[in-house]
Assembly symmetry: C2
Homo-oligomer: 118 residues x 2
Amino acid sequence: MLGLLLIDHGSRRAESNHQLEDMAARVRRLRPTAAVAAAHMEIATPDLATTFAALVQQGATHIVILPYFLSDGRHLTQDIPALAASAAANHPGITYTLGSALGPHDALAALLLERGDC
Amino acid sequence: MLGLLLIDHGSRRAESNHQLEDMAARVRRLRPTAAVAAAHMEIATPDLATTFAALVQQGATHIVILPYFLSDGRHLTQDIPALAASAAANHPGITYTLGSALGPHDALAALLLERGDC
C-alpha cells in the first residue's frame, strides 16, 4: 500500500498545525486507496518518525513524503531528508521518496488570484 | 488599472526571493491587463511600500495585495495589514484590498501529489 506523509514546518499556533490535518484530509479524498497522515518537522507533534511508523503500521510499504512548503531551502534539502533517512532506518524493507516544494507553479498563481478575489 | 502586489515573507536566500519574481511572472501571464509586481515583508527588498508606489506610478488605481503564504498567522492578520495601511496612506485616492492565505485548498492537495510524482 502507498503511504503519503505530509510534512510542514510545525508551529506554536494550533490553527496552523490543524490546517495540515485539513490538507491531509483533502489528499485522502484524492487518493482514497493510500494511507495518508501528517507530521511536523519541529515544534509540534507528531514528528516525521512517528507518522512514518504509523503509516507502516497501517500497511504502507512505500511512503512518499510530501513537503507542505512553498519553496526549497535548508529544511527541504537537509533537515527533512535527514529526518526521513533516520525514520526509514527503523523499517527495513520499506522504501520512500521525497517530493519537492510546491512553488513556483501556475496552479499557485491561479490560487493567488482566487484568494484575492480577482 | 488593477495592480496586483505579491508579497512573501522575504528570505536571506536569493533563490527564495527570486521565486516570488517567478510567481509574479506567472500571475502576469494570467492577468496581462494588470500591473503586477512583487515585494517582501522583511529581510529582502523591495518592501511593500516601494512596490505599492511603483504600481501607482504604472497607473494602478486599485491594488490587490496577494500574500504568498500557506497559512494565516500574525504576518497576515497584523504585519502585512499594517504595512499596507502605511503604504496606502502615501497615495490618497488609491484603494486596496488584501487577499487571504493560499491554504488549505484542494488545489494545494493536487499540487502536493504532483510534486511527489504520485
